[in-house]
C-alpha cells in the first residue's frame, strides 16, 4: 500500500469545508483507494464486477431447496440481463462479467471425497486470477452456485474453528430438516478432511468450490495489480478468507461491501476483523451487495475530489 498517497488524501481532507472527520467512512474509503491505487487522487473510471459460477457435489446431501440446474439457468439469466446483479451493476456504472467454471462437472461431494484435486483447484484459482483486468480501478467480486453456502460454511469452519451448527445458515431458504442435513454434512466434511484443516489452501481445495477458488485467485491478482476490492457476502468472504490466514493483512486491499443476512457472515466478518460497509438484510450473492456499495465508494471519491477548501470557499475555519 502507498502510505504517501493515503497521507496526501488525509492532508487534503483536513482542508475541505466540513468539520474534521464528519464524512466518517467516506474519508477512510478515499484514503484506502489512494493507498492501493498508488495515486493521491484516486479514480473510478473502470469498475469491474466479476461473478464466478460453479456446481457442488455436496448438493447430493440435500442441502439446498433449489436443483443444481439453477446455476446454469441463472448464468443464462445474467447473460440476458434479468438478474439483480444486472440492474445493480448498471446503476453502479460497472462492467459485469460472468464466468462459469465447468458447470457440467460439479465438484466432488466433500462428505465422501475431495471437492477438487490440487490440479482442479489450481486451474480454478488461475481462472479467477486471469479474469482480473490489471487496469481496473475497483473490483467487485461475487458468485452463483447452488449448494455453495454449504461449501462456504465448511471452509469457514476449517479456517476459523467451529462446526456446522456455528456456520450453517439457511442459504437460499432451506427448511429446518434441510438445515439439519446441512449442519451434518459440514460436520462430516470436517471430520473426513481433518488432516488438511491447518492448511488454508488445501482446505479450500478439499472443501470449497471452483467459484470460491476463482474468487481467491481474483483477490490475489487484485493485490498484485493494486486493484482495491469489494467483497460480497458470506460465500465471497469465505472464498477470500484463506488469503487472510496465509498472510497477515492479506485482505487489507479489500473491504466487505455488506453484512449478509446469511447466518455465518457476522461470525466470519468478526473473525477477519473487518466491518462491512452496508447492512441491509441482503443474502442473494451474485455480487449484489458489492455492486450496491459502489455508489458509496463513488461518493467518497466525489466528495474528496470535488469539495472546496475553507480557503477556496471563503468559509471561516474553527479557531
Amino acid at each position: 500500500a502507498d502510505e504517501a498517497a493515503a497521507a496526501a488524501v488525509r492532508a487534503r481532507q483536513a482542508t475541505l469545508t466540513k468539520p474534521p472527520g464528519s464524512l466518517g467512512r467516506l474519508e477512510d474509503i478515499a484514503a484506502w483507494l489512494a493507498s492501493w491505487q498508488g495515486r493521491a487522487m484516486p479514480r473510478l473510471d473502470l469498475v469491474e464486477v466479476l461473478v464466478f459460477a460453479g456446481n457442488h457435489g455436496v448438493v447430493a446431501q440435500g442441502v439446498s431447496p433449489y436443483p443444481p440446474a439453477v446455476t446454469a439457468q441463472m448464468v443464462g439469466n445474467f447473460a440476458a440481463g434479468g438478474a439483480a446483479i444486472n440492474q445493480l451493476a448498471l446503476l453502479a456504472g460497472a462492467a459485469l462479467r460472468v464466468i462459469p467454471l465447468s458447470l457440467e462437472a460439479p465438484t466432488g461431494d466433500f462428505t465422501t471425497d475431495v471437492a477438487m484435486t490440487p490440479d482442479a483447484f489450481e486451474a480454478a484459482v488461475m481462472t479467477g486470477y486471469d479474469a482480473v483486468d490489471p487496469g481496473a480501478d475497483l473490483l467487485c467480486l461475487g458468485e452463483m452456485g447452488i449448494g455453495n453456502t454449504t461449501a462456504a460454511a465448511v471452509l469457514a469452519a476449517a479456517l476459523f474453528g467451529g462446526d456446522g451448527a456455528d456456520w450453517a445458515g439457511r442459504g437460499t431458504g432451506i427448511d429446518d430438516a434441510g438445515l439439519g442435513r446441512k449442519r451434518d454434512a459440514i460436520d462430516r466434511g470436517l471430520a473426513r478432511h481433518r488432516a488438511v484443516l491447518d492448511d488454508p489452501l488445501a482446505a479450500a481445495a478439499c472443501l470449497g468450490g471452483r467459484e470460491l477458488a476463482a474468487i481467491l485467485g481474483a483477490v490475489i491478482a487484485a493485490r498484485v495489480h493494486h486493484v482495491p476490492v469489494l467483497l460480497d457476502g458470506f460465500v465471497c468472504t469465505a472464498a477470500a478468507a484463506p488469503l487472510a490466514r496465509l498472510v497477515a493483512g492479506g485482505l487489507d486491499h479489500a473491504m466487505i461491501a455488506h453484512a449478509s443476512a446469511e447466518a455465518g457472515h457476522r461470525r466470519l466478518v468478526e473473525a477477519l476483523g473487518m466491518v462491512p460497509l452496508l447492512d441491509l438484510g441482503m443474502r442473494l450473492g451474485e455480487a449484489s451487495g458489492a455492486a450496491l456499495a459502489v455508489p458509496v465508494v463513488r461518493a467518497a471519491l466525489a466528495c474528496h475530489a470535488g469539495m472546496a477548501s475553507f480557503a477556496e470557499a471563503g468559509v471561516t475555519d474553527r479557531a
Copy 2:
C-alpha cells in the same frame, strides 16, 4: 398509504429470480415507495434535495467551535458547488435547492427567551411546506446552521424526556468544556420552557430553530402530496419528530437515511422506532446522509422494475 400498490409490489417480488426476501430492505423500500406514491410501479424521475439554513441565538452560550457567520458562508459554498452535498446530490441524480431562513436575524436564545414567536415559527414551517414540489418522487431533507445540534438536542429532550447529558453530542467538534456548556444550556432551556414541553409544536417553536421548523413543514407537505422522504441525521430527525408525537405513524412516509455519529441520534432513532438505512460514521448534516442513501433507493427500484421472473428467465423455482 396505498396498501394495494404495496401488495402489488410484494406479489411481483415473489416471482422475480431470487430466493424470497433475499434482497432484504431493498424489497421493503420498493413496497414503501409504491405505497406512498400510490403506484404499483414506483418511479424516481424527480428526486429533490432541500437544505434549509438558519442561525441560532443559543450560540451566545458557547456551544459551537465555529462562529455563526459560517452558516451564511456555507450557503455561499452550496451556491458555488463546493460543499459535500453538491457532490452527493449530483451523484444521486437529485436536484438541490438551498433555502436560507433570515440568517441575519438569529432565533432567540432559548436559555433566556423563546427561540421563535408563534408567528415566526409558523412562517418558517410554511416556508418549508411551500418548498416541496408536489410532483417530486422522493424528497431528501437536510440543514445547515451553526449551533443547531444544541437546538435539536433540547427539542429531542422536550419530546422524549432526558436532559443535556442524554442528548448533547459534540456537533461540529466541540471540546469538553464546550460540551459542558452545551449540556448546561439544554438543561436551562428545558427548565425555562417546562410549561410547553407537553406540546410538540410549542416546544419546536420555543426551543428549535427556523431550519428545523422548515423541515417539519416540508415533512408535512410531503405527507399531503404523497412524496416519500429520506431524513438526514440528528438535526433533521429531531426537526421531523414533532409530527411523530402529534400523530401515530406520522413519519411512516419517511425513512431515516443514515445513523449519525452525533451522540443523540441513536437514542432518537430508537425513540421513534425507526431503523436507518446506512451507518457510515457520518455527522455532517446538509442532507449528506440522505443524498448518499438515494442510490440505495434507486437500486431497490431498479431491481424491482428490471429483474426477470422465474418464468421469463426459464429458471426453475424451488419446489
